[in-house]
Subunit: 153 residues, 2 copies
DNA sequence: TATTGTTATACTCTATAACTATA
DNA sequence: TATAGTTATAGAGTATAACAATA
């Protein structure tokens, strides 16, 4: 009697476990952001603008790995919520200048605190050495494989 | 002069790095599946059916953390591709019985091999002890936080 | 009534590519 | 022509909830 081949199970893969945990961490984070009326993609854009205020949409798109169209829509939403402003460039009127409003700047501080909180809730129980090792492995992989796109999902 | 507060950066969070890597691993895997004409969600359903052939859609939905509606559509697609069959239950005609066709069974073997390949490509460079530690940490988190939904994305 | 599976509808997120205005 | 931003369209994936068949 021939026994059926036994293909690997989902749980045999490290990628499965990584995704499992990562999905939950992100969902939890997404829920915290949603509680503030902000999507994760919006958060990423806000965070970019906090670091270098006055960024053109095309530049933001490049940094976030999104299309200009996607950034255009994110911008619409954030402008509608008064967290950012959008002005036409002075020298070259094709460009726009995106900047955080002061409400936007405050929001980023609040969201960053939530991000810290979320990370602590999931990883706080690990020993510092474990956290460091985990981070190092992930960062190594990013450079080893030349992984490009930043997670915006 | 008051200096602006410095909120944590995206890269300060372990969750960010986990997602960064996980996204790439999954995208790569998804591309391999797509090469076989199968989505990741379809793959997950196929894999469930391989383990216990003759599963009701509602049961599959429960195992995968999807709605019955979602499973209904996945089933449509897989039946159309002749990888699974769908019969009405004999005892209780409300239930259906989903089973792999022999083509489906072969497909699962092929896909599982691709999954192995994908995992090896990303994690093969790690030392066995590192892989084990990584897996352990992830599994610990799953049980520690009672994370329920299996990743189907 | 309760449950299974189906389906109509909607929503979110994103991409592609055509379009407008500016250069 | 070339580039920035916009927008029309589409597609993937999923949920909600109403529905038909069956129990």
């Amino acid at each position: 009697m021939k026994k059926p081949p036994k293909p690997s199970a989902l749980e045999d893969h490290l990628g499965f476990w990584l995704r499992y945990v990562s999905n939950h961490v992100s969902q939890s984070f997404g829920a915290k952001m949603a509680g503030q009326g902000i999507s994760i993609a919006e958060w990423a854009l806000l965070r970019v603008l906090y670091d270098s205020n006055a960024v053109a949409p095309s530049e933001a798109a490049a940094r976030l790995g999104l299309t200009r169209g996607a950034v255009s829509k994110l911008t619409d939403k954030l402008v509608a919520k008064s967290f950012i402003t959008r002005k036409t460039g002075e020298k070259d009127r094709r460009y726009q200048v995106l900047s955080l409003s002061s409400a936007g700047r405050q929001l980023v501080l609040r969201l960053a605190a939530l991000a810290d909180e979320n990370d602590a809730a999931f990883f706080g129980h690990l020993k510092p050495a474990q956290r460091a090792a985990l981070k190092k492995i992930m960062q190594d992989m990013v450079s080893r494989f030349g992984l490009a796109e930043i997670p915006t999902e």
